[in-house]
Symmetry: C2
């Protein structure tokens, strides 16, 4: 038995985050991120004032309308109804109010879903580049994290690799669309093929292989592109969403897990998700945010402004000799590092007060990521720094 002061499990979980933790605690960004004249493209945090209407919506919902206003809240029926209507309208697919499990954000939603379906040894597939916490959350549930890559040429799902990775122990696959960091929206055609693979695998395995659809950015879509939720294509999908992106308020936590009406064993799953929300530390949104949701669903950051930042940065970076992608959604841009070592380039770029996230922290070495939540002024001011950095 180990004499370590903490569990082996948390040490394994922590190890999966080592690159991003090192960046957070030891990079030049960690030392300079409070300085007022930097251009900070690292994380999806706000660099402008909060959204018009956000504060008044929350303020309004503080006024108690009954004695239970601040009582224990699970998923409040009124909030479930509002969310079911908006998501049904948006995806053009009906969701039932009772199938909306209101969480304190997508981090909680993903954790709850994974813990609800995974037993020791079960495999969950996740795909790189990846969000920081997928692997650790799978390990935390006692599962085995199976890592695949996207198709590096097209940034699309690699369906052959997925097919090949499925085993009798596969319990699910996490799909993130639109994708952080590639900005790719997976097409209906691709998702239909994926659904066929998962349906066949479920039949062969004699138990359901779930799709966990991380759709944190599903309302942040550029160029009028179509967004298709996997939940409208593959019935055994958990749709996980957060309002933290579309409101750009990641410190306020409200989101949901939506179960499609076509999901098998929906009642048993619903009961278990609700239990797991409680056991995971009461992973429901706070009372005030649930009361405010009717107003909050109407709010969004300015997508056109984000799109302007994308276009400006793509044009300017290309002009300077960088190779940038052209995201279809999300608020990220990924750019090839001019030198192989993306960490070294990111630290070099920081000498010009421009801060970006190295690809090695999210499973895409050789690239770096920009968050378009930097403000317009930072976006413009960053160009000379990018110009000098590529000159070596």
């Amino acid at each position: 038995m180990s004499s370590a002061p903490v569990s082996g499990k948390i040490m394994s979980m922590g190890a999966t985050m080592a690159p991003i933790i090192t960046f957070y605690n030891e990079s030049n960004w960690s030392k300079q991120n409070e300085e007022p004249d930097i251009c900070d493209f690292t994380f999806g945090n706000p660099h402008d004032k909060p959204l018009d209407g956000y504060i008044s919506a929350v303020q309004k919902s503080l006024a108690p309308q009954n004695k239970d206003w601040f009582a224990y809240k699970q998923s409040e029926p009124e909030a479930q109804a509002v969310i079911a209507k908006t998501v049904s309208d948006y995806l053009n697919h009906p969701f039932n109010a009772e199938d909306i499990c209101i969480t304190n954000g997508a981090f909680a939603g993903l954790n709850v879903v994974i813990k609800t379906i995974v037993d020791a040894g079960d495999e969950i597939i996740y795909i790189s580049p990846h969000w920081f916490a997928y692997e650790g959350m799978i390990i935390g549930a006692g599962g085995k994290a199976v890592n695949l890559s996207i198709n590096r040429e097209t940034f699309d799902l690699d369906l052959e690799a997925i097919q090949a990775a499925i085993s009798p122990k596969t319990r699910g696959i996490i799909v993130n669309t639109p994708n952080n960091p590639t900005g790719k929206i997976y097409s209906r055609e691709t998702l239909t093929k994926l659904a066929d693979i998962l349906t066949a695998a479920s039949e062969k395995n004699g138990r359901t292989v779930y799709l966990i659809s991380d759709e944190a950015y599903h309302k942040i879509i550029f160029d009028g592109n179509d967004f298709v939720s996997p939940a409208t294509i593959y019935p055994n999908t958990f749709l996980v969403y957060t309002y933290g992106k579309v409101h750009l308020t990641p410190g306020q936590r409200i989101g949901y897990i939506a179960l499609p009406p076509e999901m098998e064993n929906r009642e048993a799953i619903h009961t278990s998700v609700n239990l797991m929300q409680a056991f995971s530390g009461w992973s429901y949104a706070n009372a005030v945010l649930q009361h405010a949701i009717g107003d909050l669903v109407k709010l969004s950051i300015d997508i056109e402004q984000l799109q302007w930042r994308r276009d400006f940065l793509v044009d300017e970076l290309t002009r300077l000799g960088y190779e940038s992608n052209h995201p279809e959604g999300t608020f990220y841009l990924i750019v090839k590092s001019p030198i192989e070592d993306d960490w070294a380039f990111v630290e070099h770029l920081s000498e010009f007060k421009v801060f970006v996230l190295p690809g090695m922290t999210f499973g895409l070495p050789g690239y770096f990521r920009l968050s378009l939540t930097a403000n317009d002024e930072m976006v413009k001011r960053s160009i000379p720094g990018f110009a000098k950095a590529i000159q070596g």
Copy 2:
């Protein structure tokens, strides 16, 4: 491999809550709790208007003072400093600001602590009567829940039973003081003896046996009694607290895990607790509540009013022939069921529109629990119902 739609683990976890879930979904209370003329003593939910000052404190903290106002929040340094000062003053024991891990309530705090220290097969001792979720949370962490009883005569900790239950696999013990539901405050003498047992066990086992101190009610103390936190006596204690009780706002989630400055390996533990907060679904309090904490720590429900309710109910119930305890703290009262089957008595009592919680739901069959958060009017109005119910 099971073809069940959810994990075996969540089914085991859910089974531990079966009695309370049955009460919640199937008892007379479940059918009548919305009726306006009932006397509802079941759960610790508000039955009066919110605390003076609560809404204005939260409202004030909505106004952004910088661009990061609603950005990602872990434990905000200003909030940590406020909490460290108030808990240090209250317990007359110094806590460092950096050792305050701010959580979205005690449910989250307990879950995070248990998951941080427990590996598969590790044992955690918990003591009945017990809070609903201890056993399931231990199972959720892959641990083995070892159940003991209090001394049924004195309602004190049974130190001999604890000593006898410790094994080489013991990783911790959960102590809840003041205790829900007995209202017992464990004395300095008892806790010192417990600390000696745990210190000896840690030495013998070659690894730390932790004390998890669930102190959700530590500010709700009657008769000017002294409260002693185990964290001031046994260094390897996680102090878990929530403001949800003292504000009577269980739908708003803010609390903390405090590590005493004397804790061994504090830095490693701190790092792991913080990681586990993230991996458990971002178990930090929302931005707004962290900003408001300077004002919120000054607020409390009226303890004298609760004490009046305790005294009134104890006197009246005794007069009617019930055997009630006389709690030293918390907002609960436990009463012997006049018939052996507490569930049957609770349903019988409900015929008189008085609703209480049967002891079989919290590991104390033969008793029922009243929450003193019922309002004064309910307290007075309930007496004829109690009178009729005991007459059969």
